[in-house]
Symmetry: C2
Subunit: 375 residues, 2 copies
């Protein structure tokens, strides 16, 4: 049986390309993980998600523990069988979602007591319970339970949350135990304060994890501040372990993060935008609901090989969006996930061939060009 | 180029199996036509609709003329290219939908003036305009413009509507002209009155059409009355032309109609039910939202080869329905369309082999059995 392992294939500046081996298959890095919140990537069959080039999905502990319930998923054979996805799955710890339930939660050193947003029932999440849920789900990459404060926050508040998260990381490691073929990732906190980030990285590496996430970013600080943190923070982490930037992001966020040494990312953006009529292309964002598309026989992106671009005109995509047809969400989500995976594939190839700077320049030039002229 | 033509392969009692040849492919009969109201079979990619075994789709003139507009569809290459479906398409005449716009329409000998339910704009439908729209859409099988009264209605009202429809059928034929490879179907009216049905059939056959629809049924009269009409009405129509029962129906309606000599049907039921959590199986209807499915690891139907049955448990289908995931509509619609097409394939084979009575008995026995016992 393959054990979990990370191999670095090439570096180009701070950017890295490599592969994470797992018993369920290889994850090519830099990797973008589509989000399957409640056991489905919205509006997509899992075989279609795989067809876009995704090697791994993210599942949400918070949503799945409430509905259908982690014990139920375990009885049904685990999340992979339940949702018909046999490649790797990373699960978050539930910490991020539960913290955002302002008014419905109560924090303590032990963990977080909270009420379900679905039915008001009471639940508890702690490092131990989060590890148990992620084990019940059958997650391949398990995340430590942490507290992620929204920014802006006072430095004292950020420091308190970070130190609590480090104690919880220790407890997470203890509770996770020894599970060959499964990985546990630590999560660095510390907001936008360099000393706190370094303290957090030191605490995590002292415990020792299979991979390290940069948490507490993309929470309101803006791209410049996020890149500012990444400029130093990835360097605090061991080079021989994957580095995961949580909840990122827009295409230019992703490219900038990869340029700063990030190996993995996840975001709901491609799927959520697909449902609201926004399509990502090499030339920026297309709002398919705009009347300018109503008579346009051209595809969204003539160079894209996804089904939405291969088989349909902008006029059709505009029509099904306006008519509120489910097919609109299906096609635009597929296109966006395809675009995000092509972005990652492009970066992996460029890094491997030592031409990442030129690739980045071309990426930004394409976006600066803007969408094709209306007919 | 193949011209339009109908070949009868076998009969078994009143039931018939055969094939309709068109330049866009063969339609095996008895045929069930999924409904693609606004240029999409809701929640389905067209290649998935084809994978269920559908040889032909139905498109709605009323919906398409209002949005995106027939002239626009024509500029974009016709409905087949627009919606990425290259097999045959039958379009209705718009008559049925426009008649149901009570308060928003005004009838005359010429046609129907009405207001759009989408934006209130004013439009006109007449035999001539309906033929023009169906030509602009590129329909393979065009339906005459008719008036279909809801039942119950007085015999006088039914007779008046039928005779108007026959005058409109004459005008439809005139306006349709000579279009090799395209077919025009007449629509019999006359409610549940035998003499009116016969008068209508005589009027239509005197004009001469490529096929004949039985209209004005499945509009509130109930299954017994509908079968009562079909018992004699199909016999009024030429045996060498396809017979189409419009807007039907539930599986047992379909089986009963085929037993009475019907060759084609259409209905929104499989797709609409899919979106509301109802699944059709050999053992009747399954309401996937019922709590009894929450822990059930078994497929909807162990003998079904659709993706919903092959890859997912009832527990998963229950979960995604409860979580209001788009995937629920996608999977259950697929299953239902697959079930309806398997039903047709089963009848075609049974008729061809002269065992339709036994097939019907097995069909009803399966449904009488009811769903599998909860665990």
């Amino acid at each position: 049986m393959t054990t979990f392992g990370f191999t670095l294939h090439a570096t180009d500046g701070a950017a890295r390309s490599g592969a994470i081996a797992t018993p369920r298959g290889t994850i090519r890095t830099p990797a973008f993980m589509p989000v399957g919140t409640a056991g489905t990537v919205k509006a997509m069959l899992p075989e279609s998600v795989a067809a876009t080039g995704a090697d791994i999905l993210l599942g949400n502990t918070y949503h799945l523990m409430l509905r259908p319930g982690a014990e139920r998923v375990a009885r049904l054979g685990g999340l992979h069988a339940f949702m018909h996805w046999n490649k790797p799955i990373l699960t978050d710890s539930g910490g991020f979602q539960v913290m955002s339930l302002a008014g419905l939660r109560k924090m303590s050193e032990d963990g977080v007591a909270f009420r379900s947003h679905i039915d008001g029932s009471t639940h508890m999440l702690s490092p131990e319970r989060s590890m148990e849920i992620q084990r019940l789900l059958g997650s391949d990459i398990v995340m430590c339970f942490d507290e992620c404060p929204a920014l802006p926050a006072s430095e004292a508040e950020v420091a308190r949350a970070m130190r609590l998260s480090m104690r919880w990381a220790e407890r997470s490691k203890q509770a996770f135990g020894d599970r060959p073929g499964h990985a546990l990732f630590g999560i660095m906190q510390g907001g936008v304060t360099r000393e706190l980030r370094e303290e957090s990285a030191d605490a995590l590496t002292a415990i020792g994890f299979d991979g390290y996430a940069v948490g507490g970013l993309a929470v309101g600080e803006g791209q410049e501040a996020m890149f500012g943190v990444l400029d130093y923070a990835t360097g605090f982490l061991p080079a021989d372990r994957p580095r995961y930037l949580m909840g990122v992001g827009k295409p230019d966020d992703i490219v900038g993060a990869v340029a700063r040494g990030i190996d993995m990312m996840d975001c709901v953006l491609p799927s959520r935008s697909g449902r609201t009529g926004q399509a990502f292309t090499r030339r920026g964002v297309v709002n398919i609901k705009n009347a300018s598309h109503a008579d346009d026989p051209r595809p969204l992106d003539e160079h894209c090989s996804c089904p939405a671009c291969r088989n349909y005109s902008r006029a059709y995509l505009h029509h099904v969006f306006r008519a509120q047809e489910i097919l609109s969400s299906m096609l635009l989500t597929w296109h966006n996930l395809h675009y995000f995976q092509e972005l990652m594939a492009g970066m992996r190839a460029a890094i491997a061939e030592g031409r990442f700077a030129a690739w980045q320049a071309a990426f930004h030039a394409g976006r600066a060009e803007g969408d094709i002229e209306p007919l």
